[in-house]
């Protein structure tokens, strides 16, 4: 036979949603499949296409990776703890 071998490598990321985002999405967790080299920017794109009403296009989605704020270029790895952080209003 000897044809070319084709591998589809993907990465599954479990994403937790809180407060406003949880209500808008209607779930508190979503499994997003991304390419293995994906970063936070790719994740927010995927999440926006899954849930177009999550945030208006001109409002940024903040992402926390392993309990710290992450910037758009932060690379993601399987097993990372990933959460979407709606605007914060703790306190009073």
């Amino acid at each position: 036979m000897g044809g070319p071998c084709v591998y589809y490598l993907v990465m599954d990321i479990e994403v937790r949603l809180f407060a406003l985002y949880k209500e808008r999405a209607g779930c508190s967790e979503v499994l997003v499949t991304l390419e293995p080299e994906a970063n936070v920017r790719d994740l927010t794109r995927a999440v926006r296409s899954l849930f177009p009403n999550l945030a208006p296009p001109d409002v940024g989605i903040v992402v926390a990776v392993n309990a710290d704020y992450a910037d758009l270029d932060t690379p993601l790895h399987e097993g990372d703890e990933v959460c979407l952080i709606p605007p914060v209003s703790g306190g009073l």
């Binding site: 704020y69 758009l72 709606p86 703790g90 306190g91």
Partner: protein, 147 residues
């Protein structure tokens, strides 16, 4: 001391944690739930937290203030879950040898809590509810041109 709890906050107990004989000033801030928003009557508030990260960020704020103001005694407690009107959702207690540092650090802690700690507040009205968004957060978002 850092605490996130569904229990009522005991401000006196939290304040006592920062008292010591070398501190001449003790400042305690209480954040209480208001019964109105822009003319609408608020029935109760519901707080939700990403607890693991909230604890981490509160501890970061505490360390930041200890360094910035050279003080040792800071306690921060945030209540989550349902909080009735007039009850306390946030207690910040700061003690220092002199008053200036205690006042400044306490004020700064409250501002920072609102900026970076992932705790959300939902106002419940007779005819609906609303997640309250704070305008002055300083996050890196996926829309940098608007950040």
């Amino acid at each position: 001391m850092i605490q996130i709890t569904e229990e009522q906050l005991d401000s006196e107990k939290i304040t006592n944690l920062v008292r010591r004989d070398s501190n001449g000033a003790v400042v305690t801030f209480l954040g209480n739930t208001r019964d109105n928003f822009e003319g609408k009557s608020v029935i109760r508030l519901e707080y939700e937290a990403y607890v693991k990260m909230a604890v981490k960020k509160l501890e970061e704020i505490r360390q930041e203030m200890m360094q910035q103001f050279g003080i040792k005694d800071i306690a921060i407690a945030h209540r989550i879950g349902v909080v009735d009107i007039g009850e306390t959702s946030l207690v910040v207690a700061v003690a220092s040898p002199h008053r200036t540092e205690a006042f400044q650090a306490c004020h700064k802690v409250v501002d920072r809590v609102k900026e970076i700690v992932p705790i959300w507040k939902k106002e419940v009205y007779a005819d609906g509810s609303r997640w309250v968004a704070c305008e002055d957060h300083e996050f890196v978002s996926d829309q940098p041109q608007l950040a």
